[in-house]
C-alpha cells in the first residue's frame, strides 16, 4: 500500500498542495482527476521523487520514503509513464527497455545482447507486445511506443506504476489495448495511478476516483458509486469564491469578429464557427485537446485551414498568416504556453512589452526609426499600469514569477492596441493574487474599453465569472452554447451542473 499522509507542497507564493492524504492499494486502478493547476502533476512528481514535499509523509508498505530524485523512486520500485514518449528512436526496443540497467548485462565492457533481448522479451510479454525486440523504436506506432514505455516502467519491478495521460496520443482502438494491459497488470497486484482528462476512460478503467481542486483533495469515491455528472461537480462545483462581476449587456453591440465554416485537416475538425461582439467576453470551455485552442490557431492563420471565412466588423478578411491578423487587423492572441510561445525570456521586460507595437515609436510614419526613449516610456507605462513587480524594466522576463510573466505577455498585446483579444488559459500557473488581477483586467477590457474578448479556459469558474456567453467544446466539436445574462447570474453550482450534462 502506498500511503500519502498530509502532503503539503508550497512554491514561492503558491500553495500547490495542502494536507493531502490518500491511500493507493495493490491491484487497484486509482484515477486522479482535476482541472489544470489543481495539483495532480505536483502530486505525481512528489510520489516519484522529482519534487520533495514541504511537509507530510510518503509511506510505501509501511516504510517511510525520502526520495531525492527519480532514481531513488525507481530503487523503491516506483515508476512513471509520461504523456510524452521518451524513447530513443534509433535504438532497438530491447535496448530502450534495458537502457538504465545495461551494466547488468555487460561482461568486460561488452554487452550481452542475447541476454538483453531475452529480458526485454519478458516485459514485452507482460504488456502483450508481440514484436521482435531487436526492431528499432522509430519504426513503431504511437501505441506500440506507449506499450514499450510501460514495459520499461515495469522492468524496474515496479510496485507502483503511474500513468500520466497515457492515451493522449492513442486512437480509441489503441487505448482499448492499453486498458486490457492495465487490467492484466491489476491482477498481478500492481498499484496503478492513472491521470486522465477523459472522463469516459476513467469510468471504464478505474476502480477508485480521487478529485483535486486548487491543491486540495475534494474526495475519493469508488468508481461504481458515482457517475460523470458527480465527478464534474466535484471538479468544478465549489462554492463560488469569485464575485459575480455584473452584466456586460453586449447583445445589442455590433459583431466585431466572426468566423464561419472553419475546417482543418491538421486537427481534423470541420465547419466550426463563432462570433464575438464588441464589449463581449465569449468563453470557450473544454478540456485540453477538445479543439478550442486548435480552432483559434486555425482561424487566425497560425496553422493552415482547409476552409472557412472570417469577418472583421462585418467585412470579410483573409487571415492567411498570423502576421496579417496582428499588423493589419489588430487581432491579439495571448498564448497558452507563455514560456514557449509568449515571451522572450532572455530579453528585457521592456523589449517584450513593446515587441508588437514597434511602429508606435517611429520618429514619424515616413521615417521608420525606433526612438528607444518612446519605447521605454511605453514599457514603463504598461509595467506601472499592470502593476508588474520587477526591479527594473531592463530585468530579464525569464526571472519574473509566473503571474508577472503572464502580465508582461498580456501587456504586449495591450500595447499593440488590439481590438479583438484572445486569452488562452490566461491564469494557468499564476498565484491567486495575480489571477484575480488578470480577471479584473479582462473584465475591464470588455466593459470599459469595449474590446471583443475571447476567453479560452478549462477552469469553469473563470469562464462563469467573466463571460456571459460560452461555447462548450468536446472532441473537436462545439457541443453547446450557453448564454443569457440571467443564466450567468445563477449560482455556480447550478451552472456547473448544467455544463456537466454536456460531458455525459
Amino acid at each position: 500500500m502506498l500511503e500519502l499522509k498530509k502532503i503539503t507542497k508550497t512554491f514561492p507564493g503558491v500553495k500547490a498542495l495542502s494536507e493531502v492524504s490518500v491511500n493507493f492499494i495493490e491491484g487497484e486502478i486509482h484515477a486522479i482527476l482535476g482541472e489544470n493547476g489543481a495539483g495532480k502533476s505536483t502530486l505525481m512528481k512528489i510520489i516519484c521523487g522529482i519534487y520533495q514535499a514541504t511537509s507530510g509523509q510518503v509511506v510505501l508498505d509501511g516504510e517511510e520514503l525520502h526520495l531525492h530524485n527519480y532514481n531513488d523512486a525507481v530503487k523503491h520500485h516506483i515508476s512513471i509513464v509520461n504523456q510524452e514518449i521518451n524513447l530513443i528512436p534509433e535504438a532497438s526496443i530491447a535496448e530502450n527497455i534495458c537502457l538504465d540497467k545495461l551494466s547488468r548485462f555487460t561482461k568486460a565492457g561488452f554487452v550481452d545482447w542475447n541476454k538483453v533481448n531475452k529480458t526485454a522479451q519478458k516485459y514485452m510479454d507482460m504488456v502483450g507486445l508481440k514484436i521482435n525486440p531487436t526492431i528499432k523504436v522509430r519504426h513503431l506506432s504511437a501505441a506500440h511506443k506507449q506499450q514499450i514505455q510501460i514495459a520499461k516502467a515495469l522492468s524496474t519491478e515496479a510496485k507502483v506504476l503511474m500513468l500520466d495521460e497515457p492515451t493522449s496520443s492513442l486512437t480509441q482502438y489503441e487505448a482499448d489495448i492499453l486498458f486490457d494491459i492495465m487490467r492484466d497488470l491489476k491482477k498481478k497486484g500492481i498499484i496503478m495511478i492513472f491521470v486522465s482528462h477523459k472522463l469516459d476512460e476513467v469510468m471504464e478503467i478505474s476502480d477508485k476516483v480521487t478529485v483535486f481542486r486548487d491543491g486540495c483533495l475534494v474526495g475519493t469515491e469508488l468508481t461504481k458509486d458515482i457517475d460523470q455528472k458527480k465527478i464534474v461537480r466535484m471538479m468544478i462545483g465549489r462554492e463560488f469564491n469569485m464575485d459575480y462581476k455584473g452584466r456586460l449587456d453586449a447583445d445589442n453591440h455590433s459583431v466585431a469578429f466572426k468566423a464561419e465554416g472553419i475546417s482543418s485537416n491538421v486537427y481534423g475538425f470541420h465547419d466550426l464557427g463563432f462570433e464575438v461582439r464588441k464589449g463581449e467576453i465569449l468563453g470557450f470551455y473544454g478540456l485540453v485537446g477538445s479543439g478550442r485552442t486548435e480552432l483559434i490557431r486555425t482561424t487566425l492563420g497560425i496553422d493552415p485551414k482547409s476552409a472557412g471565412k472570417t469577418y472583421l466588423n462585418g467585412e470579410e478578411i483573409k487571415l492567411s498568416s498570423f502576421s496579417k491578423a496582428l499588423h493589419k487587423y489588430r487581432i491579439g492572441y495571448v498564448t497558452e504556453n507563455r514560456k514557449e510561445e509568449g515571451l522572450f525570456l532572455d530579453n528585457s521586460i521592456s523589449m517584450n512589452v513593446s515587441m508588437n507595437s514597434l511602429d508606435k515609436f517611429y520618429v514619424s510614419t515616413r521615417i521608420p526609426f525606433i526612438l528607444t526613449r518612446r519605447e521605454k516610456e511605453n514599457s514603463k507605462k504598461y509595467v506601472d499600469e499592470l502593476e508588474i513587480k520587477a526591479p527594473k524594466i531592463t530585468t530579464k522576463a525569464g526571472s519574473l514569477s509566473g503571474g508577472n510573466q503572464q502580465k508582461v505577455s498580456i501587456a504586449k498585446w495591450l500595447s499593440a492596441q488590439c481590438d479583438v483579444i484572445i486569452f488562452d488559459e490566461p491564469t494557468v500557473g499564476v498565484d491567486i493574487g495575480a489571477k484575480s488581477y488578470i480577471h479584473d483586467l479582462i473584465w475591464n477590457l470588455a466593459k470599459k474599453q469595449q474590446k471583443a474578448v475571447i476567453l479560452i479556459s478549462s477552469d469553469m469558474n473563470e469562464i462563469i465569472a467573466l463571460s456571459r456567453r460560452m461555447l462548450i467544446f468536446k472532441d473537436n466539436k462545439i457541443v453547446a452554447e450557453l448564454k443569457g445574462e440571467d443564466f450567468f447570474a445563477q449560482s455556480a453550482k447550478m451552472i456547473s451542473e448544467k455544463i456537466g450534462e454536456f460531458f455525459v
Binding site: F322, T335, E340, E341, L345, D346, I370, L371, S399
Partner: protein, 327 residues
C-alpha cells in the same frame, strides 16, 4: 565623508561596467595593448597601427557575415567559400571582362546575395539546420571557385587596390568603413523593426511567430545578408592584398566564429552588442599581430591564438555567471 561617497559611486560605476557584456573584451584589449607595447618596440608605431586597423576592418566584415546568422541562432559554414567565389567573380569581372570597378562590385555582391538566398531557401524549405546546408553548399561554392579559376590569381587594377590602401589621417579608409559598419549594425538592431524582428526570431522562434513575425522570411533574409557581407569582405580583402584568388577565405569560417565568440555574441541567437563585436575583431587581429612581433615561433602561433580565445570566452562565461548573481 565626502571621499567615502565618491569611492562608493566609483564602485557602482565599476560594477555597472562589469555587468555589461562587452566589459571583458575592453579589459582584454587594454591588457593586450599593455603586454605587446611593453614586450615589443614596434607594436605601438603609427605604421603598425595603420596596418592593424586595415586587418581588423576586414576581420570585422568577415565576422559580420557570421554575425548575421548567429543572431538568429544559425550558422554559416560557407562564409569563406562565398568569399572565395566572390574573389573569383570579382577577378573575372575586372580582368577577363574588363568591367568598370563599380559594376564589378555590384556583380560580386549579387553573386553573394544569390548564394545566401540558396542557403536560406534550402534551410527553410528542407527544414534542415543551417549547419548541414551551409556545409554542403560551402563545398559547392569552393568547387565552383576553384573549377573556374583553376587556382590562378587574377590581376587587380591599381585603382582598385588603392581603395584598400587609402589613408585617412592617422587611420585607414578600411577602418572608417568598419566603424561605419558596426555603428550601422548597432542602429539596425536597436532602432529598426527589421533588426528587432531578427533578434526576436533568434530569442524565441515560436514566440516570434506568434508575435506576427514571418520567421521564415527572416531566416532567408539573414542568410542573404550574411553572404552579401561575406562578398563585401572578399572585395575588401582583394583590395587590401591587391590580388584575387580562389584560396581566399580558407580560414575565414573559424575566425568569423572566433570574433563573435570573443565579442560576446551568443551563438544561440537573440543578442547583439556593437562594442563587443568591434572589440572582438580587434582582439583577434592584435593577438595575431602581437604574437608575430613577440617573435613567437610562427608554427606555434595557432596554439597561442587558441589558448587566448579560450581564455577570453572563459572569462566572459564567468563574468556572466557573476553578473546574474549580482542582478
Amino acid at each position: 565623508m565626502n571621499s567615502k561617497n565618491e569611492k562608493k559611486s566609483f564602485r557602482i560605476i565599476m560594477r555597472d561596467f562589469f555587468l555589461q557584456s562587452y566589459s571583458s573584451s575592453i579589459v582584454a584589449i587594454i591588457l593586450l595593448v599593455l603586454i605587446f607595447s611593453i614586450g615589443t618596440d614596434s607594436f605601438l608605431t603609427q605604421y603598425n597601427l595603420y596596418n592593424l586597423s586595415r586587418t581588423a576592418a576586414v576581420y570585422g566584415f568577415i565576422a559580420g557575415a557570421q554575425l548575421m546568422v548567429a543572431v538568429i541562432g544559425g550558422m554559416n559554414l560557407a562564409v569563406g567559400s562565398v568569399g572565395a567565389l566572390s574573389c573569383v567573380v570579382l577577378g573575372i569581372s575586372l580582368q577577363n571582362l574588363g568591367l568598370p570597378i563599380p559594376i564589378a562590385i555590384i556583380i560580386t555582391l549579387a553573386v553573394g546575395a544569390i548564394c545566401g538566398y540558396i542557403n536560406g531557401f534550402l534551410t527553410v524549405k528542407l527544414r534542415l539546420s543551417g549547419f548541414i546546408i551551409t556545409l554542403a553548399m560551402s563545398f559547392i561554392y569552393d568547387g565552383i571557385a576553384l573549377g573556374v579559376s583553376h587556382g590562378y590569381p587574377y590581376q587587380i587594377p591599381d585603382a582598385f587596390a588603392s581603395l584598400g590602401r587609402a589613408k585617412l589621417g592617422i587611420t585607414s579608409g578600411l577602418f572608417i568603413m568598419m566603424l561605419v559598419f558596426v555603428i550601422a549594425l548597432a542602429i539596425f538592431f536597436k532602432n529598426t523593426k527589421f533588426g528587432r524582428d531578427i533578434l526576436a526570431t533568434g530569442g524565441n522562434q515560436q514566440a516570434a511567430k506568434l508575435s506576427g513575425i514571418r520567421t521564415n522570411a527572416i531566416t532567408i533574409s539573414c542568410n542573404v545578408l550574411s553572404c552579401i557581407i561575406a562578398s563585401l569582405a572578399a572585395i575588401l580583402w582583394c583590395s587590401r592584398t591587391a590580388s584575387a584568388t580562389s584560396s581566399t577565405g580558407e580560414d575565414w569560417m573559424l575566425y568569423s566564429f572566433a570574433v563573435c565568440a570573443i565579442g560576446g555574441i551568443s551563438l544561440s541567437g537573440g543578442n547583439f552588442t556593437g562594442i563587443g563585436f568591434f572589440c572582438g575583431a580587434w582582439i583577434l587581429t592584435m593577438i595575431r599581430n602581437g604574437l608575430t612581433m613577440l617573435n613567437v615561433d610562427v608554427y606555434f602561433e595557432q596554439a597561442f591564438l587558441g589558448a587566448i580565445i579560450l581564455l577570453a570566452v572563459s572569462v566572459e562565461a564567468i563574468r556572466t555567471r557573476v553578473a546574474e548573481k549580482i542582478k
